[in-house]
């Protein structure tokens, strides 16, 4: 289950919905990762662009990986502006056993950071400034550049 929201996430509501949805599924471990906008470098907030078709296929590939380990995943992300101390991202794993859950949430969140087609902008003085220095080129980038 991949859910995209305009603006900040209602974290308690989403965590409860996911917990309740799997209450009878016999998973022993539930680990959500919640990402919240930090106050740093004088920003007023962050803003996000998402390219949904590729986000969905990326997510489906992870869903399949989870399934192979007997686990399931869920994810929520914000589109547009999210202000300081609001949350923009939740990824979660449910699994029968804790080791799988602990390892999977780490891999899932790290690959999300490296590969999910989402672009982040700092909100500074009403401007949207691409967070270039914190961004990661997707694996395989550069094939259209010169000197290939």
């Amino acid at each position: 289950m991949l859910s995209l929201y305009d603006g900040a996430l209602d974290v308690p509501k989403i965590l409860k919905e996911w917990y309740d949805a799997e209450a009878q599924s016999n998973y022993g471990a539930y680990i959500p990762f919640v990402g919240t906008v930090r106050s740093e470098d004088g920003i007023d907030g962050l803003s996000f662009d998402i390219y949904e078709p590729i986000l969905e296929s990326w997510y489906e590939a992870w869903q399949k990986k989870a399934q192979e380990r007997g686990a399931i995943i869920k994810m929520a992300h914000s589109r547009g502006d999210v202000m300081l101390h609001e949350s923009s991202y939740i990824a979660a794993v449910f699994s029968p056993k804790r080791r799988v859950a602990l390892e999977f949430i780490d891999e899932f969140v790290e690959d999300f950071k490296a590969s999910a087609p989402i672009w982040k902008y700092d909100l500074i003085d009403g401007q949207r400034v691409y967070a270039k220095d914190r961004s990661t080129a997707i694996k395989g980038s550069g094939i259209l550049g010169a000197n290939q």
Partner: protein, 73 residues
């Protein structure tokens, strides 16, 4: 005709091009000086599937996307 879209922070309108492979696309885009850094650090998808080389034959109606460096979360 093939459609080329520039995603996220690449401030450029989509192009409609008569090309049959990605090598032709690379030649065309490399003439645009404002794109040179983006070409070095962007990934490429054809019809929303990521590709890892230029050895891709394009069909009429294909959609190519350039994905610059990402930072979700």
């Amino acid at each position: 005709m093939v459609r080329v879209e520039f995603l996220g922070p690449i401030q450029k309108d989509a192009l409609e091009l008569e090309i049959t492979n990605l090598n032709e696309l690379a030649e065309i885009l490399q003439k645009d000086k404002e794109l040179s850094e983006w070409l070095q650090n962007s990934a490429v998808a054809v019809n929303d599937t990521m590709v890892s080389s230029l050895d891709v034959v394009l069909q009429d109606g294909d959609k190519i996307s350039l994905l610059p460096p990402v930072c979700g979360g």
